[in-house]
Every structure is written in structure tokens, then in C-alpha cells.
Symmetry: C2
Subunit: 329 residues, 2 copies
């Protein structure tokens, strides 16, 4: 662990920034950058806490760094935006080595570079117990074009990128075998989704092209929870069609009871879920086809009180707003 | 402690925002706001950790909230800027009650309202041990007008708002007697400086009027440390004049050895220190007179390698870059 905060912060200071709008990055009281009248600004923060969101036994330092940044990029993606800068507040206990700490920054930097994001600030402090990492991400989106949850309208189709439940399945495997355990190819895919989730920035940008604006949310707390948020923000009711819910092939090795729970309540897949006018569906499908993702219709928005229901062949279930609610763990 | 994160976050959502540029505050994936071509943006983050930066025995919940926001507003002040929005990432252990947590938000909100700042986001998670609060503040400053450390020039006068060492003296009293202890009037002043530091936003704005731009820094890590940062960023040498260093009357009740240490290395007073051309000194003095603060000349910027020296009557001392370096505590 670096014994000198000043030296450590300076070591993280990049020699140049991707974005020419940055006037001062790391190294003064605040970061300074110029903004543009063409864009609205996006700002979000998310925190990972040792033994709550990860354990040393489930995540390598690089994974922790990757995920701490990815969960925030995902929030920008869910607004249809472009991630631009990030700041890292980290509290480090003496039980973490210099190498481990550098691993965390390496994981963040690698992901940041892929999105041409600049680290423009941070705060490094010691922690009496447990590592805490809180990342702030700033992004931008064309003026007036942020994809808000309240945009859902009765009649809209509900769509999902790819599949959910994979991260929760991966965590289950990791808690069982540890991160150095032996995993089959399919298991490794699930573990990878948990440790290195891929934010869907391209897909969010594709969705942002639809006019009028659609609603969009990223799945951090589980499909059920996120759809409840959409329903509440737009004052609509949402029905999902059980036969339309995609099930990742890797999940089918687990008992059905487990994987349905993971699909609806697992969280941390960081896929995108949203709603789109039926007439705009072909446009969205066409745009998403240009990305690496699959797109699925999974239900419809209805008039009515905010509620999410699942229509099965034999029964109708209410999908409650539970999930990765950290206070309940 | 709130058992349901969703309910808690919604409870913090204000019914209206001060700033009409906010499109979405709390309640979607990210905050969204429009920016302006007239201003550059400022962004910073600072973290307070229980048992590292505060203890329940030294700070009331309201003090913790106040300070967590104040330390960030101070960074904006040090750029000559206007604080506008903030986001709160907080990790709460089960040992903290609902009332205490609300006290923290009350302390933040009271300070935020005084500066017409809007809380636009955050993240509330549980902590296995110890409270952690990390605040992100966004501010703005007129385009190209941020007060950078590198602006110091040989020949400049070094100035200081008010006095330093008071917060460290207050902490010393608090560690001695606890926050429910009995304090004299003068002691209470010191305790107040430690618990409820006042960011110098007005003073920073006053300093930002000088043309050409001056250098400015806020004193979070101690006068010696901050001046070393100025010297390094501007590649100059700084000499302080011992007879010019102001000593708060409340400090004179302590042994001289103690208070000199606090003055140079104490930190957390959140006063402003900077440098100004001698010819612009009367303008700065005139601007600062309109605020509640006193202004002192305490030394001069010289050519030479980055170094801070103190010229006493009999000796010359090097003031090293130590201070509130949390990794060394």
C-alpha cells in the first residue's frame, strides 16, 4: 500500500488526456473542463464495498477496478450517453498491498481507455478496515436527448439486450469454488460476466437515435427491480411474457428454480431494458443489429397503476421490486 | 438505519431544485443538466472515513454532514468558482441509527442551501464496519478564469485569509474532552472551526476578479503542504516571513511549540492561500474587505527550485510537505 498519498496520486496522473476539453485534470483543487452548448451533462456515482459487493475470494484486483468503473459507465449508457471522465475515491486498508492497489487501477484504466475516458481526479485515503471504492463518472448526451425512465408510454414494447441472470449465476459459482477454482467453458462465461461486466454504451447510443425518445434503464438491481422503476417513473403498468424471456444457454445447467430467480432478481448483468413504440421497433432492431448484442421483445407497457406482472402459460405473477438491495443483504 | 435503500433515496429527493439547468436530479440512472458556454465546469471528490477523519466522540452527525460537503465546496472556492451541485456516496454500518443518518443529511442540506446547491444524485450502501462518506461537488467558473496553482510568479506576494491552526487546536480539545465536554468561549471557537469549517467561496470569487489570474489553494492539508503544492505547480520557491504569520488569539492559550506546529501542519482550516502581483495587492485587499475575512501578506514568491522556507528572526527553516497525509497517520 502506498505510504504517501501525494506520491500515489501523482503516479496516477496521465501524461496526456484523450479529451481536449480538459483544462486541468488531476493535480489542482478540482478538475476543470470546458463544456459545450451542444450537449447536456450526465453525472453519477456508484460505490463498491469489500465484503458487501465483492470479496477477495471472488474478484481479482483488476476485476474490482473494472467493475467499479463499469457500473458507472452502464448508468451513462442507460441515458443514451457517452462516458467522458471519471474520478476515483478509494479507501484502502493496510491489508491491501501496493500490487493489489495497482491492479485495481489497472483494471479501471484498461476499461477507461477502451471508452477514451479520462481520469480527472480522485481522493486516496486509508481505511481502518475493508476496501471501499467510489467512482464518479461524467458523461454527455446531445442536448435534450437523455433517455429517461419516464418516457415509457402505454402500448410500448418492452425490450431487453441479451440475457439476464448470468452475473448472479457467476457469483454463485465463485462463492462455491472461489476465483481460483476450476470452471468449465460455460461456467467461465458466467464468472466473466460477474467479474467483468460489459457496459452497453454502443447499444445505448443506438437506442438514443430513436425519435421520439424512448425509455431506458440499465440492469444493476435485477430485471424486476429496474422495470418497477420504469413503471413508477412513467406511471404505467408493465406485463412481461414468460415465453419471451430469453434464457442464456449457460443457465440451463442449473435447476430451473435457481435460474428464474437469477433472471428476474439477480442484478449486475448491466444489460439494458427499455420500452419503444411498436412502430419504431424495426428502427431499434436495425440499430442494435450494428452492435454485438441481441435484442428481445419481452413484454408490453399498459395503462394502469405502476406494477410489473409476469404472464406465464398458467398463471400471472407480480414481480416485486426486490433485488440487490444492499440494505437487505 | 434505513432498511430499504429505495425508500431512503426517494426521501432525499427534493421537491424542487435551485438551478433551472437541472433536467433530472435524483431519480434516474444519472443526473442530467445543461451546461453553458459562458462557464467552465469544476469537479472534485473528497471522502471522510470514520476513525480516520472523524470519530463519533469528536463530531455530531450534523457536523460530519457539514464537513463532508464543506471540504469539497472549499476546493471549488480555491478555483475561484461557484459550487452548484453535489452527489453523496455513503456507506453506513448497522451501528448507525436512522436519526444519526438523518443528522448527516441535515448537516449537508443546511450548508447546501446556504450556497443554493442542489443534491442531484448519490449512492447509499451498507458498510460492514465504519461509516464512509464520499461527496462529489460540481461547480463552475467563468470561461478560462479558474485559479490554478501554476499561476504563481516570482515577485508575487503570498497571501492568506484569516488564520490557520485553529481546526487542529479544536481537534486537540475534542480528543481531550470529547464533543460533550465543557469548553470556554475561546475553546468553543476552535472546536467550531474543526467541526463546521466555513469554505471561503466569497473570498475565492473576490480573488477571481484580479487580472491576470492569480494562484490559489485551499488549506486542507496544512499551510506548509499547500504552499509546497503551489511552489511545485508553478516551479517557484516560496519564502514566508515568520513575523507576518497571523496567530489566532485563541491559539495563544496553548504552548508556543504546539501552535506553531498547528499553524503550519495542522490542516483542515479551509482558509485560502495564494499569490498575487504586488501591483494588484490593493485591488485584492479591496475585494476581500467586502467579505467577512481578514487578509494577510505572509511572504513572497522567488525564482528557484520548488521549496518553502520560513524566515525567522534568527534562522531559516525549510517547511516540508507533510501534514494531514492520511496514509501516515
Amino acid at each position: 500500500m502506498p505510504r504517501d498519498e501525494f506520491v500515489w496520486i501523482n503516479k496516477q496522473r496521465p501524461s496526456k488526456y484523450f479529451d481536449s476539453h480538459i483544462i486541468e485534470g488531476i493535480g489542482d483543487d478540482t478538475a476543470v473542463y470546458s463544456s459545450s452548448d451542444d450537449f447536456d451533462e450526465l453525472l453519477c456515482v456508484d460505490t463498491l464495498i469489500e465484503d458487501i459487493h465483492f470479496k477477495k475470494s471472488t474478484m481479482a484486483p483488476e476485476d474490482i477496478g473494472h467493475k467499479a468503473l463499469a457500473v458507472n459507465i452502464s448508468d451513462i449508457a442507460a441515458m443514451g450517453g457517452i462516458p467522458t471522465y471519471y474520478m476515483v475515491a478509494i479507501a484502502v486498508p493496510t491489508t491491501w498491498s501496493d500490487d493489489e492497489l495497482e491492479g485495481i487501477y489497472r483494471g479501471m484504466t484498461e476499461l477507461g481507455i477502451r471508452y477514451k475516458m479520462d481520469m480527472i481526479g480522485g481522493d486516496t485515503v486509508s481505511s481502518p478496515r475493508g476496501l471501499m471504492i467510489s467512482v464518479t463518472v461524467r458523461g454527455k448526451v446531445e442536448k435534450g436527448r437523455a433517455l429517461l425512465r419516464k418516457n415509457a408510454k402505454p402500448g410500448d414494447l418492452v425490450f431487453l439486450t441479451n440475457t439476464t441472470g448470468r452475473s448472479a449465476a457467476g457469483l454463485s459459482l465463485l462463492l462455491d469454488k472461489g476465483r481460483h477454482g476450476r470452471f468449465s467453458m460455460q461456467e467461465s462465461e458466467l464468472v466473466q460476466t460477474h467479474q467483468r461486466p460489459e457496459p452497453r454504451v454502443q447499444e445505448g447510443r443506438a437506442a438514443a437515435k430513436i425519435d421520439p425518445l424512448i425509455s431506458l434503464n440499465d440492469i444493476s438491481d435485477g430485471l424486476a427491480s429496474e422495470l418497477n422503476e420504469l413503471a413508477e417513473a412513467s406511471n404505467t403498468s408493465i406485463e412481461l411474457w414468460e415465453t419471451h424471456i430469453p434464457i442464456a444457454k449457460e443457465l440451463k445447467n442449473f435447476p430451473e428454480k435457481n435460474y428464474w430467480d437469477w433472471i428476474f432478481y439477480g442484478g449486475e448483468d448491466f444489460e439494458l431494458v427499455g420500452t419503444v413504440r411498436e412502430s419504431d421497433w424495426p428502427i431499434l432492431e436495425n440499430e442494435i443489429e450494428k452492435t454485438e448484442s441481441q435484442l428481445y421483445v419481452i413484454g408490453r407497457v399498459l395503462e394502469g397503476n405502476p406494477l410489473v406482472t409476469l404472464l406465464g402459460e398458467k398463471r400471472k405473477t407480480i414481480l416485486e421490486k426486490k433485488g440487490y438491495n444492499h440494505f437487505k443483504q
